[in-house]
Amino acid sequence: MAEINLNLINGLAAMVLLAAFILVATGRLRTMVRVFAWQSLALGLLAAAVAYSTGYWHIYVVAALTIVLKALIIPRIIDQIMDRIQVANDVEPSVRTPSSLLIAGGMAILAYYVAEPLIQSGETITAGALALSLAVVLIGLFIMISRKKAITQVIGLLVMENGLFMAALSLSYGMPLIVELGVFFDIMVAVLIMGVFVFRINRTFETLDTSFLRRLKD
């Protein structure tokens, strides 16, 4: 029974990383949001599996929250924003897809290199997932760097959050409940604020392309 769980957990973790790679590859905004939703769903299931195998009830709460919040509510908010602004659907990456994929691969290798000594010393069953979560965090950061649109930067940030949550899960079965709740609350507020800003930017600059945000320099 334990092996099934282990395989399930590792499988779900691999799914999350796969979703991150797909995010890097896609050229269209809508699909990016969709893939992000899938990634959060996989993450929620992973949390549930971990909860099931370790018997800690508070992880169930967190898993449910992840699924509800990140898989359903946030993608809808982003879709709403995009409909209201009628933003062009393409992502205009500053780095061509093949090279960004290669870079994402590089990120994974770096993450593994960094996490390798930690995995030996980690006692948790999901220690192996640490390298994957680090990779997801780095890829999220890469998405923010290489994409021009403001919304892609929001999604990049959220992907980094997912990576973080997975790292917490893999290392110490998540943080104490109050902290988790606080983190979720913060993410919600952050997304709301960014949404407000995206509206304002669109109203003043008539475009979401952040390359227009270049006026303040020395």
Partner: protein, 487 residues
């Protein structure tokens, strides 16, 4: 009892939100910050005399008391100043009247988050508080709603949230290391208990977590490679907000790093984290020096000088030793006071001359003699001239550096200080002296601000010449908190 410290700013924010009339909002905000200052002086006096106070989620020792005082003093000065400043902005129609209330509500919300940072014992809560400061101040930075302030706010939010996410990862790693070592039950995020069991934590995990925290919170402090948001945010935000930002927010973020520095120096010895702090400190001073020479807008100049002073503080704490720590703490107070004085003066100058590019400003001493004299004195103070405190704190850090044998770092530190001294003074003397270019009638800035400048500068002057006994014991108490600092 500590919760009261949080409730006061929260309540003031709410009241400001509800009140409609401008006068009442102003009164509410000043009473609120006054009460905050009174209570924080009382509690920090208690902490200094009767030791740390641990109330569940909140924890207050010498260092947090010190930070609390800093937050309270600067927020009082800012709220008093913003009455005059925002009043004039309103009359000039720079923003709609309805948003006046939001300004004060956001201001006090911002103050509350900073107080929470200083008080929170749990590193998770501290992370949430810092995230909250970013969100609260994001609106304040974009208060003017024009392209530039929006761009500045957007960059501010994005960069800081990225930084803070990295810091969260660092916190998670730290939390994980505490669990592995001590088993499930012992795992806690209270840094006080973490400090207790620091030597059992796993060194490699701790090292990576400190790096992540340093890069993460370093973004909030404005250390060198992560400083890029700071000049934009400071130059676009309304003046009282940029005073609050550079006076206190940077110090709170530095406070967070210090907590981690304590834990990592207890576990790995001060060498590792101290060395990193020194490295980042020197790098930030170098970058700031380059930009101070080139900057053309005096608010950006002040922002870069904040980066430079944060570099000096990081250097001081990195060097460690009781002298290094006391020197950096002194540097924090002096910097907070002088920088707010500078920003208030900048607000006055901007109101009069209506331009921020320094080339166009000439002969201020003719157009507004007293304010420009005080502003020039603040400039002299910030670059470290003797009667003012920064000269003494920079000297103490130099002594600590020499004692710690960091000869290379100290010599670079001296050279950079000299370059910055020359560049800042050149900008200041060009603005103050000479014949006024714009034909502006000679009218003094309003009295309230002049008085505030005098009070702030008097504070820095006293710290330059004489250190009151009470403050001295507090500093020495804090120095003993640091594992390496006990010497």
């Amino acid at each position: 009892m500590l919760e009261l410290l949080l409730i006061i700013p929260a309540v003031t924010a709410l009241i400001c939100l509800l009140l409609k009339d401008r006068r009442q909002v102003e009164w509410a905000s000043s009473i609120g910050s006054l009460a905050l200052l009174a209570l924080s002086t009382y509690t920090s006096y208690e902490v200094v005399t009767s030791g740390a106070k641990d109330e569940g989620m909140l924890y207050m020792d010498g260092l947090s008391a010190f930070m609390l005082m800093l937050v309270a003093i600067v927020s009082l000065a800012t709220s008093l100043y913003s009455i005059g400043y925002m009043g004039r902005e309103l009359d000039e129609g720079r923003f709609e009247a309805s948003r006046f209330r939001y300004y004060y509500a956001l201001l006090h919300g911002f103050i509350m988050t900073m107080v929470l940072v200083c008080l929170s014992d749990n590193l998770g809560i501290m992370w949430i508080a810092i995230e909250a400061t970013t969100l609260a101040s994001a609106f304040l930075v974009s208060f003017y709603n024009n392209e530039n302030s929006l761009e500045a706010a957007w960059k501010y939010v994005i960069i800081c949230s990225v930084g803070i996410t990295l810091a969260l990862l660092g916190t998670i790693l730290l939390y994980a290391s505490s669990i592995q070592q001590v088993g499930e039950a012992g795992g806690s995020l209270e840094w006080s208990s973490l400090l207790g069991m620091a030597d059992q934590l796993d060194p490699t995990l701790l090292r990576i977590s400190f790096i992540l925290v340093l890069v993460g919170y370093g973004t909030k402090v404005g250390l060198a490679p992560m400083h890029t948001w700071l000049p934009d945010a400071h130059s676009q935000a309304p003046t009282p907000i940029s005073a609050l930002l550079s006076g206190v927010l940077l110090n709170c973020a530095m406070y967070a790093i210090l907590r981690y520095h304590m834990i990592s120096s207890a576990a790995l010895g001060p060498g590792f984290s101290g060395g990193l702090l020194v490295l980042f400190g020197i790098f930030s001073m170098a970058i700031a020096a380059a930009f101070i020479i080139l900057s053309r807008d005096f608010k950006r100049l002040l922002a870069y000088s904040s980066i430079e002073h944060m570099g000096v503080i990081a250097l001081g704490f990195g060097i460690g030793g009781s002298l290094g720590i006391i020197g950096s703490l002194l540097q924090m107070i002096n910097h907070a006071l002088t920088k707010s004085a500078l920003f208030f003066g900048a607000g006055q100058v901007y109101a009069r001359v209506k331009t921020r590019t320094m080339e166009e400003i000439k002969g201020l001493s003719k157009t507004m003699p007293i304010t420009s004299a005080l502003w020039f004195a603040a400039f002299l103070a910030i670059v470290g001239c003797p009667p003012f405190g920064i000269f003494v704190s920079e000297l103490v850090i130099l002594m600590a550096g020499l004692q710690a044998g960091e000869l290379l770092a100290v010599s670079i530190y001296l050279i950079l200080l000299a370059i910055i001294f020359a560049a800042m003074l050149l900008h200041a003397s060009r603005m103050i002296f000479g014949e006024p270019t714009k034909v502006v009638e000679k009218r003094e800035g309003d009295i309230a601000v002049v008085m505030m400048l005098v009070v702030l500068l008097a504070g820095v002057l006293i710290l330059g010449l004489y250190l009151p006994q009470g403050l001295n014991d507090m500093l020495e108490g804090i120095a003993h908190l640091f594992p390496g600092g006990g010497a």
